[in-house]
Symmetry: none
Subunit: 252 residues, 2 copies
């Protein structure tokens, strides 16, 4: 007979929950400073190592920020909790960025070719509509609109594949990536020539699907991702160079 797992109360967990609920309920407001560990430990009637383990858990969750010699502070909660497992995996492991691009390239390539084989007239009309939105967005300067139109188009291609798993997967990936893009390299898409190239590439994908040419659709999709990867890498280098120059000027 398998009995139910006994619920062993863990001290560090209890402390963590108590602190976390105080943060959530607003007793401890964002930016507030916690009492010193030695003091807080005594107030709670636990040892400092136990309290520290609880605090470390909250740091891992992003609820607390601690600075040596400074103190422990309730975080501003800028970071929303990652409910999506893909996001949770990738956000904090920058070493995986290369894998992510490769992954997206492969997935979107497959999805585009499937869409080319299966898109219904309704799908094609929807895609055409989204291409129009994309064109208007790139003509303007509204970054949020550009990003939204981009996500919508890729999402529509994925849905035209008529496979819910691919549609769901692409949706997860896109939302994660575009949240990242908006945070870090917002003006990547702003510059004219880049926007023009991106629009051409999206149109190439759309045309291939419209022509029901799976091979071309895959190729166009992969070329698009390759370009995005290259541009992002270029932008990252650029920013690093600028930062270095700035530090040099500051005499640091």
């Amino acid at each position: 007979m398998v009995y139910q797992k006994v619920n062993v109360p863990r001290l560090a967990d209890a402390i963590m929950e108590q602190l976390e609920s105080q943060i959530i309920e607003g007793v401890l407001k964002p930016g507030a400073r916690l009492p010193a560990e030695r003091v807080l430990a005594e107030q709670l009637g636990v040892s400092r190592p136990s309290l520290r383990e609880a605090i470390q858990k909250l740091v891992a969750k992003g609820r607390i920020i601690s600075r040596q010699g400074g103190g422990n502070y309730v975080s501003d909660q800028l970071e929303t909790a990652f409910s999506d497992p893909w996001e949770q995996l990738i956000r904090q492991n920058t070493a995986l960025h290369g894998d992510v691009l490769e992954f997206r390239r492969a997935i979107e390539g497959v999805v585009a070719s499937m869409a080319a084989e299966r898109a219904t007239d309704a799908d094609l009309a929807h895609l055409k509509d989204l291409i129009g939105k994309l064109r208007r967005a790139y003509e303007g300067e509204d970054l949020a609109a550009q990003s939204a139109a981009d996500v919508a188009f890729h999402q529509a291609v994925a849905e035209a594949s008529h496979n819910v798993l691919f549609a769901h997967l692409v949706s997860s990936l896109l939302h994660m990536l575009h949240k990242n893009i908006e945070d870090n390299i917002a003006n990547l898409f702003a510059s004219g020539p880049v926007a023009g190239t991106l629009l051409e590439q999206h149109e190439a994908v759309w045309q291939a699907i419209e022509n029901r040419d799976p091979v071309a659709a895959r190729a166009a999709s992969e070329a698009h991702i390759d370009f995005v990867a290259k541009t992002m890498a270029h932008f990252r280098d650029e920013r690093e160079r600028r930062d270095r120059a700035q530090r040099r000027l500051a005499g640091v």
Copy 2:
């Protein structure tokens, strides 16, 4: 002037990242047991409290499960998280079974071709070993062993792609499939000719990877999934026919 934030290296963070990357890269597999804290602390050259803080962070992230007196284990979070959203959907909607197989076909095809391009000698040796295990399993009658060997082989191919996202996606998919489907049509593997064909197909995938032939690897992989799909459909029809006959005999 705003100076760059000084990056104070935190020992517990460094330990956490090291352990986490080992988990993500598959060096530490789900269910694996970590060395005892005292031992691991000495191996890493850090104190036990520091190691514990790192472990607590990983527990908070859900990557590790620790049981007092039992040990610290790598959680199966990465095996389940990606497919969990799909699982419920698919259970209730049998019409999506086709999507799942198609998805798997596409993913495994891509993964096999990537493996053929990148597998190291160590990967090849591992695959060869698993092919041997698969052969022995198919010679026997132990369905659980057959299923386990099958999963292990496909997962090893995915790992040989050297892309952790694909590796985790495949792992997640396989676990979902073998949890939901195994019960119903476990004896798919039992019958002699089917087992023989399956073994041949696995060997074909392996050979293509060994020959570093991406195209053949993809083709072999897709042919394998197609056969599995066909056999499953056949078996399902067979069972339905039997059930109908039974109902007729029962006068319902």
